[in-house]
Symmetry: D2
Amino acid sequence: MPKKLSTPLIIVNFKTYLEATGKKAVELAKKAEKVSLETGVSIGVAPQFTDIAAVASATDTPVFAQHVDPIAPGSYTGHVLADAVKEAGAVGTLINHSERRLKLSDIDAIIRVACEKNLVSVVCANNQTVSAAAAALNPDAISIEPPELIGTGIAVSRAKPEVVLDTVKLVREINQKVTVLCGAGISRGEDVAAALRLGAQGVLVASGVVKAKDPYRVLREFAEAAKIQEKQSLEG
Amino acid sequence: MPKKLSTPLIIVNFKTYLEATGKKAVELAKKAEKVSLETGVSIGVAPQFTDIAAVASATDTPVFAQHVDPIAPGSYTGHVLADAVKEAGAVGTLINHSERRLKLSDIDAIIRVACEKNLVSVVCANNQTVSAAAAALNPDAISIEPPELIGTGIAVSRAKPEVVLDTVKLVREINQKVTVLCGAGISRGEDVAAALRLGAQGVLVASGVVKAKDPYRVLREFAEAAKIQEKQSLEG
Amino acid sequence: MPKKLSTPLIIVNFKTYLEATGKKAVELAKKAEKVSLETGVSIGVAPQFTDIAAVASATDTPVFAQHVDPIAPGSYTGHVLADAVKEAGAVGTLINHSERRLKLSDIDAIIRVACEKNLVSVVCANNQTVSAAAAALNPDAISIEPPELIGTGIAVSRAKPEVVLDTVKLVREINQKVTVLCGAGISRGEDVAAALRLGAQGVLVASGVVKAKDPYRVLREFAEAAKIQEKQSLEG
Amino acid sequence: MPKKLSTPLIIVNFKTYLEATGKKAVELAKKAEKVSLETGVSIGVAPQFTDIAAVASATDTPVFAQHVDPIAPGSYTGHVLADAVKEAGAVGTLINHSERRLKLSDIDAIIRVACEKNLVSVVCANNQTVSAAAAALNPDAISIEPPELIGTGIAVSRAKPEVVLDTVKLVREINQKVTVLCGAGISRGEDVAAALRLGAQGVLVASGVVKAKDPYRVLREFAEAAKIQEKQSLEG
């Protein structure tokens, strides 16, 4: 993980929400930066490809691509090149999100490309066994996200704690070094705290922040909860 | 077609070539702009998603996305939203390039989305019947590109003139309004002239320009040839 | 169209319903054969790949594959070869069903392969413009099926008559020879009659027959309705 | 593994070769059965979907599908249902062959479906890390096949022994129970022997047998080599 990406880590996926497109992507990233500076909690953002450069140049917030393709530079039209997202200012990329599922061999190839280009690889997984499989591919991080909870406001860390627990356990058996995040339905500070108590080292969030009336306030709540939980864990 | 996009039209597809990524994408777009200003020939560029905003803000060159997805704003991770490429400054988009082939129903949906967002839709087709099918979907333009000639330097307009002729004929029978371009192997001015003589209204080029030692010189040659041929056609 | 496939034509898509898998596929095909013999109306069936041979050898019912791949014989694992469905006894194939949408260039390639192998090609389309595009590819038949009505029991021919009318009109402008079918929600004889009155030459049905308590009775109702409507049209 | 599938195991992938389609699929399966009876070595065959029933009813050879889809019975047109290949007589299925690569989450889902239906799951993997990932999904078997060697006649077990060795090691660390096969380029008895010496428990072959002048002789050579090597290993 690069310096700015310590755990507990919060990553905000902007998806293709209009509330986080273009100028609004930059504004939201600035709010994330503010919360990170105020709380000391690491917060990354994953805007659309077209917004990576603007977000990366306007803020110090670590920027992730939402996807890259398993390709080298060359004759690929309409593809996303790791070199290009890197030059635009990204420090990492999401891979295999439930809304952009990939072939197993492509996930493997993308993790290699990301590693070569020094991009942090965050592989999303829809359940425990898929998380375990992803761990064998040596990404930097895995985010377990049960697709049925995405966008519901029902937090994985509270509605399906066993999914997070099992994932942490299975992933650890295969790979000690990978960072484990969880996501889906995270919408309150206590959801974040619950995630950390279950062994996750951070959260991947989207609508809970992007669609919130006051994204700054929500992110601040998330970061505070993460900070307090982290402190309790270290003391406990 | 928007004002800046008159025919004959040259579109340069930057693909994921490193020679046309990041800063180099902006430099190449500036060369295209220079040639367009010097010759009066319309030249568009299709950089990677991450470079659309920089190219559009640094030049007056009409910018095309290389692809957009058939989606509305919302929960789509790693997708390309028409609204986002529009806000980044694009005036149009390639659709269904041979290196990014799409489902028929998705091409139909993307053309609709492009139309709603006032983006020029350029559908690529691999042969004559596919061009005819694409014409029935009412895009702004169709580019016929035999995939076996892409990147070879053997120009479609000279090696397979019947493909261009047939495409123009079949497309015209179905749709009078669509602009017909051709591409694949275009590398010299005479290839461009030959394309226009066959009834194409422009060319879609990539490696012939991007990988050239002197892209400015090649583009200038293309534009001059297009201009002369256009003049001869009007007089003839 | 081969001899056994006259219009009006009813094709029953068995999908992957257990009610039409294995032995039950053969039983259902025999019911279709019985109705066809009794009424003189042409009825085809589209069982799963694994059931094509058994259905084709046990009945005289014309058998369609539900899909074939755009490939020649060779190194393709897990693909469906036109030669193989032909040797198994199929006389045609569905292409691009809403539940198996295909790339435009692949639809074009599959129609060519089907034509070479003397297989009747039935391209499914989700709306009018896609139907028109499909017509330009010269298939034997097109079936318009609005996906939102599939499996609902709300018949396209009664809920969206304009979709069928427009499709017939647009397809005819591009291609005089193609047979036009319609599908989605067809569950009663009057739905079939309505389809024919709108200019369709037959119907593509699935759950309305396969999931019926008495598939024979439903098919018989469909065939009778088709026969009466056909007679009225000829007299009218 | 069902009774007929002991190790060392040879699986012959018929792909979409005309030499192994329709009647010729049955003939080739009979040769495999003959060799298996003569040598006592377990030999499975993976014919096309359309040929599964005929092969399974004409021989005692264990039959594998080349692919199944991650679906339950229902509204899926052109898909391959586990229940259907099972009823047709298959005892297992290949999954994720290099010529039919699948999404990670789909491989996971297919393995579950196969397990429920009591079908032996053989997941193909293109390299060592992908093999390790597949092992975490608990299939019955994994076959490591470097795609660049498929169909070349250059055996993986001789040209890239480290790939087989690493795969066996990595897979064993994650999953003790999974059977490890290897494939690509296997064309002589010594290739099979080499594979077993490296720790593989069998081979997945295709053109080396299917395209051979005398498939019976080649399969016999493979089986003899496997038998001798197995004996030496037990004694050694």
